[in-house]
Symmetry: C5
Subunit: 92 residues, 5 copies
Amino acid sequence: MIRATVIGSVWSSRHIDGLPPGAFLEVQPEAGTPIIAFDVLGSGTGEQVLVAQGSVAASWFPGAPPPVDALVIGAIDPASPSTLPGQSKSAA
Amino acid sequence: MIRATVIGSVWSSRHIDGLPPGAFLEVQPEAGTPIIAFDVLGSGTGEQVLVAQGSVAASWFPGAPPPVDALVIGAIDPASPSTLPGQSKSAA
Amino acid sequence: MIRATVIGSVWSSRHIDGLPPGAFLEVQPEAGTPIIAFDVLGSGTGEQVLVAQGSVAASWFPGAPPPVDALVIGAIDPASPSTLPGQSKSAA
Amino acid sequence: MIRATVIGSVWSSRHIDGLPPGAFLEVQPEAGTPIIAFDVLGSGTGEQVLVAQGSVAASWFPGAPPPVDALVIGAIDPASPSTLPGQSKSAA
Amino acid sequence: MIRATVIGSVWSSRHIDGLPPGAFLEVQPEAGTPIIAFDVLGSGTGEQVLVAQGSVAASWFPGAPPPVDALVIGAIDPASPSTLPGQSKSAA
């Protein structure tokens, strides 16, 4: 997964069939170019989120897998340390 | 998914079996080298599109998955903001 | 998919089971390092080809998917424009 | 797989359904940006781990594949040489 | 697939279940950072090998797919040309 920040959303009136209910969010990874991730959590601009990529994003949906290759799987708690070497807290 | 602009198309008279009806479009991502995405929407040069990559592109097709690893899943509405931090519009 | 040029081939006398009949071609993408793509079309050095990557390459083969992650799916017609913005020809 | 060092963990109180028991660890690959890998081994900060990426990470779990695209599959033994050309030790 | 050179191996005494018999080899691609590929051929340090990446690496194994995302599928014959434009030899 990658850590990314929601920076906007895109709309597509003309699209192929099979898209589930949700939003296409534009998210900025920690490095590189923004990507578009599908979101079912109602994430908002500025939020830090966890994004899973590849076919696992599609497999999460029940029924026929939709053609989405990136999915917001959670909001990152603000208290989560960013990348601080030396910490030993474990997540569950 | 990535945001890309259609810049052309490629033709392949000699190809393997199993390709569905549609077009091979050359699309330019926001960064990096152009890729070839399969298109069933009739997208035209200059259009901004959403491209899904990997096996989800093939899984979208009914029947045996064709050997395509990138699919145009929608045209991006011109009104969609590009990457403007601070906006809060949500897409559906 | 990516557009690439065939630049050679590799031979592997000692390999794992499950490889289908065909050739391992070394192909040069438009940018970056050469990759090895499996070819069943008899493509030759210097030809421009379309290469699909990932599990869709393996899924194309009947029966148990072979351990190949890149497949030449077609030769690109010489008349195909490279990356000329402004054209509107559609491929089928 | 890649070799990476655990540098922290992230918490997500608000997340989608289907996440298995375990932790989201932030790991630093040998090059590039940190990624988030799922961990079921209780790996700690500073440990060197092997991370598998893509759908194989999800397929490892029994039942419906969870939406995780990176999994810590093992701790790397401290005695493991890093990248020393010339050695011939084989691992099992 | 990519062409890579075996540069070492890694050991993992503490690992998740489901790993098949074989070795984790550290291999150096033609460009970029070393990756860890699973090997069932007994490849040795200094050998040039073909590595398949992604879920096809796991699908090759019988039974439940193990959590490995890179597999050595063959040794490259020393006679194989590297990347010599102009040659027309075909591999089978």
